[in-house]
């Protein structure tokens, strides 16, 4: 019996939550109203003027995404629950990187702490202990000592010992985390696996493509090193092309010509890696919307909902932040990935 049959409650909750998601057109209208200052009818918090930008993001994130997440994860058990909890822990992985950056830059503890995201009750990061460490080596040792990030920390520490570069450290952490996402997706029960791996694959491949382009053509890593930092898995629906073949490319244009034709056509007008990133993110969102509407698989639907919800929140928060800092409208639209 699949999850949908076992959990009609979960499917029903997802459908109710999904009804609250904004369509791309509605989100665009909200953003335009926010930028123009004519957003009173939307009922958003009025006086964000005194709220620091990160607190605003934290408030939006916690009160909406995490609240929804708690509803969705409640009926799940075993490997299905593990997958979703692992996914939400990406905010903690971001926290690990933020603490690392702060330690390497000798930032004050208070400043590092204020940049962290709180995902209680799902947090497993000993933030207090990590902030009390004196240097990066001690921090990685502490992280390795216990908790679910031990493996991530161990690899990060080994890379740190050889290459004291923040970039490689962060790339290693990201890589380990995303490998874990695919691993967890492939570990769910057979009746849930295919649909989930499909949508998780879109998400991971989005990172693969952008990382490949950045590592290879911005940071100038060799093809081998670039490939090593990616997350290969199969079968892949977004990129399709062998990642090793893409890594061998000598320019962005060459890499794009090796992509499947439908994807090439969508990326035809992209002028930069940022443009490519926004287009690929939209493709992932479309895949998530399709899975949410058409998939009979509750876990894949729940995951798709979380992807879309997070995207909606991030874009809204980006617009609010841009407005608070009085950026020009076209910069706000670019930053939020909206149409200009």
């Amino acid at each position: 019996m699949n999850l949908s049959a076992r959990h009609p409650y979960l499917n029903a909750r997802i459908s109710i939550l999904a009804a609250r998601l904004m369509s791309p057109e509605r989100l665009q209208r909200l953003a335009e109203d926010l930028i123009e200052g004519t957003d009173a009818a939307w009922g958003l918090p009025e006086k964000e003027g005194n709220i620091p930008p990160l607190d605003m993001e934290q408030a939006l994130l916690f009160t909406t995404l995490l609240a929804d997440f708690m509803i969705l994860v409640r009926p799940l058990t075993g490997t299905e629950r593990d997958f979703l909890v692992y996914w939400i822990r990406k905010f903690e992985v971001a926290n690990i990187k933020a603490i690392l950056r702060g330690k390497m830059a000798d930032m004050p503890v208070g400043e590092i702490r204020s940049s962290l995201t709180d995902i209680r009750p799902f947090s497993a990061l000993p933030v207090g202990d990590l902030l009390r460490t004196e240097d990066t080596a001690e921090m990685l040792r502490r992280l390795e000592a216990d908790g679910p990030y031990g493996t991530v920390a161990r690899h990060a520490r080994e890379v740190y010992e050889k290459k004291r570069e923040l970039f490689t450290l962060e790339a290693t952490i990201d890589h380990r985390y995303l490998s874990g996402v695919m691993h967890k997706a492939q570990a769910v029960k057979a009746e849930e696996r295919d649909a989930l791996v499909r949508i998780a694959g879109f998400v991971v491949d989005r990172y693969n493509l952008i990382w490949l382009l950045r590592y290879r053509f911005i940071y100038g890593l060799s093809p081998g090193e670039t490939f090593y930092l990616l997350v290969p898995f199969g079968p892949r629906r977004l990129i399709g092309t062998d990642l090793a073949e893409l890594a061998r490319s000598n320019s962005i244009t060459e890499a794009l010509t090796k992509l499947p034709i439908p994807l090439q056509e969508k990326l035809a007008n992209a002028r930069s890696i940022t443009d490519i990133e926004q287009i690929v993110e939209e493709i992932v969102r479309q895949a998530a919307r399709a899975a949410l509407k058409q998939s009979g698989n509750a876990l894949a639907r729940a995951f798709s909902y979380l992807i879309l919800r997070e995207c909606e929140i991030n874009r809204t928060a980006a617009v609010l932040k841009g407005r608070k800092f009085r950026f020009a409208p076209h910069i706000i639209r670019d930053g939020a990935g909206l149409r200009n």
Partner: protein, 631 residues
């Protein structure tokens, strides 16, 4: 009366000169009755934060001290001298610097130890797989030295990463990889590539978890030499590990740590106060906070002794907008129950403190549900015997045991035997219906008491509409009483007419009217549905909560039934077996049923009791103390 509510509090304001602020902090901490609070002043009034730097240095130092203490094998908690000692910023900074040096040294040694342990693991694995190298028909020593054109690397990497690594190597032009062995989680590989591209190869090896193999040149030809070499390396590594461990122990510097800990002990109060201290350019410093009204005089006298006239101390009653912390004060007998109440929540300031009611009802209900002279005596005696281990939980356990003994006499039960003692009241199993009636009656009493307490709490909070018209207020009490009256009339006289319905209908209509009023702004249809459902919920709540108390009787019957089961089993055996069964059966009843009854009583207290009247959203009173803040 003070035992039924949190203690009356006062908001106090203390002004001292800046140079006296650290001593003021020590004095306040020493008294143990002052909880600091941020001053409610505009930012331009007393804009300075005199203790900010001190606080920063203290936190840094305390963090280092805690890390060192965690690693040192701590003895019993230290006692510090009573005499207060002001720690100036310079001394604190010095202590912080020294702690930084100590921790830096310790951390360095820990890092060394970590690397050496990994190296040892690696060597052990190598030694285990030594046979592999002895069968290779190539001179590995030559392979490890790169030639003019060829760059060679031999080493290990995690098996998990092998496939990806192999593919990464294959992408690099003119490189190849050979896996010559896999063991557990490790793959042994050899990589060769053009020397001119060695930069890219090195970067890839660094990014991957590749560990080069450091082997002697004679590796291939002399396996015994290799064995000795590896053993020597392992031995050397182990010696280094032991040396580092010894250095770690020496680095603990316990005597010096004790001195530094004392400095931080006396610095803690000013650091804690620093977050709320306000100061002005004139040198005046202000601290505000809460203190129980009964301790004001004592604190004022202490301040006069310490500061003579160099301070100003004012106090006021709490205002409606204040978020006042709650201080509970009970005789020692009730303090363990206070902890169980706090488990549910902290009584809000001004709210009824349920601790005493909880204690009495808990003890009585436990006795009712577990009434047996013998079992009760065992529980009471065990509670007293293990009092040192149980600490403050000795009292609830012993009192529950005594309650069981008393009810045991009422039921006439001793270790399950009901023929030995004459019941002062009756054995539960002899009249289950009466037991259930008594239990329900007990429940009705408790529910009415809870509702009354809620009514009092709502009046104290000035939420008058809710107090008079909501389910949780007087209307709810009247509804419940009306329902009981109606049921009584129906059960006793078989009538349920207007006289019986009116006491139910009138309060219900009042409640529904209040809920209707509360839901203003809602669409009409939705409003009707919500009001009807909430009204139905109000009635069902009372019904289910009342019936829930039947478990009090159920468990007393259960207790008797379990005993019957034990005796039935025992009677099937002869002599020795009979008594073993009796003893083991009683142990089983004591442990299992005792635990279940305790949980059920707590459940009744929390859910049917507290949830009805107790908000539990009060603020904990955290007084300033010497030493680091407690969690």
């Amino acid at each position: 009366m003070m035992m039924f509510k949190p203690l009356p509090m006062q908001r106090v304001m203390l002004k001292v000169m800046r140079e006296d602020a650290p001593l003021a902090a020590l004095v306040l901490a020493d008294c143990g009755v002052f909880s600091p609070e941020a001053a409610d002043l505009p930012e331009d009034v007393l804009p300075e934060r005199p203790g900010a730097q001190y606080n920063k240095v203290y936190r840094n130092a305390q963090s280092r001290l805690e890390k060192l203490r965690q690693r040192a094998d701590d003895g019993p908690c230290r006692e510090f001298p009573d005499e207060l000692r002001v720690i100036e910023l310079a001394e604190l900074e010095q202590a912080n610097k020294r702690l930084g040096e100590l921790w830096g040294r310790y951390s360095e040694l820990e890092e060394q130890q970590h690397r050496l342990l990994e190296e040892r693991r690696h060597l052990e694995e190598l030694k285990e797989n030594l046979h592999l190298f002895s069968t290779l028909n190539i001179n590995l020593g030559r392979l490890q030295a790169s030639g003019a054109f060829l760059e060679l690397h031999m080493g290990t990497l995690p098996l998990l990463d092998l496939q990806r690594f192999a593919k990464a190597v294959s992408i690099e032009p003119h490189h190849f990889l050979k896996v010559f062995h896999t063991a557990r989680e490790t793959a042994y590989v050899m990589i060769a590539g053009p020397r001119k591209e060695k930069q890219d190869t090195h970067k890839l090896l660094q990014t991957a978890d590749f560990r080069p193999l450091a082997l002697p040149p004679e590796f291939k030809s002399h396996p015994k030499t290799i064995q000795h070499e590896l053993s020597a390396q392992l031995h050397e590594c182990t010696k280094k590990i032991l040396a580092v461990e010894q250095q770690l122990i020496e680095a603990e510097q316990r005597d010096e740590l004790a001195v530094l800990e004392e400095i931080l002990h006396y610095a803690a109060p000013f650091s804690a106060l620093a977050e709320t201290l306000r100061g002005g350019r004139s040198g005046l410093t202000l601290v505000e906070g809460w203190i129980p009204k009964r301790d004001i005089l004592k604190l004022e006298q202490t301040l006069e002794i310490r500061f003579d006239k160099r301070f100003e101390f004012t106090a006021r009653d709490p205002e409606e907008s204040d978020d006042v912390p709650s201080v509970l004060s009970h005789p020692p007998f009730f303090r363990p129950f206070e902890k169980l109440v706090k488990n549910f929540g902290i009584p809000r300031y001004g709210e009824v403190d349920p601790t005493i009611l909880f204690a009495i009802s808990f003890i009585l209900m436990f006795g009712m549900m577990f009434g047996d002279v013998g079992h009760g005596a065992v529980i009471g005696a065990a509670g007293w015997y293990f009092r040192e281990k149980l600490g403050e939980f000795t009292i609830p356990i012993t009192a529950s045991g005594i309650s069981s003994v008393i009810f045991g006499f009422l039921y006439g039960s001793i270790f399950g035997y009901e023929e030995i003692l004459h019941a002062l009241w009756m054995a539960p199993i002899s009249d289950p219906m009466l037991m259930l009636t008594v239990a329900v009656g007990w429940g009705v009493g408790l529910i009415l008491l809870s509702c009354s307490l809620k009514f009092i709490n709502l009046l104290a909070e000035k939420r008058f509409m809710r107090a008079w018209f909501d389910t949780q207020g007087l209307a709810g009490i009247l509804l419940y009483l009306g329902g009981l009256f109606g049921l009584y009339r129906l059960a006793t006289y078989g009538v349920f007419g207007v006289t019986e319905s009116l006491p139910i209908v009138i309060p219900l209509l009042v409640i529904l009217g209040y809920k209707w009023h509360e839901q203003h702004g809602m669409a009409l249809g939705e409003r009707i549905i919500v009001v009807l459902i909430e009204g139905f919920d109000s009635i069902m709540n009372f019904v289910s909560n009342t019936l829930s108390y039947m478990r009090v009787a159920a468990f007393s019957l259960n207790h008797a039934a379990l005993a019957i089961a034990v005796f039935t089993l025992a009677n099937t055996m002869g002599g020795f077996g009979h008594w073993v069964t009796i003893i083991l059966g009683n142990v089983f009843i004591l442990v299992l049923e005792g635990a279940i009854v305790a949980i059920q009583v707590l459940r009744l207290e929390y859910y049917e009791g507290f949830a009805r009247f107790f908000s539990g959203d009060g603020r904990v009173f955290r007084p300033l103390r010497l030493g680091p803040p407690r969690p």
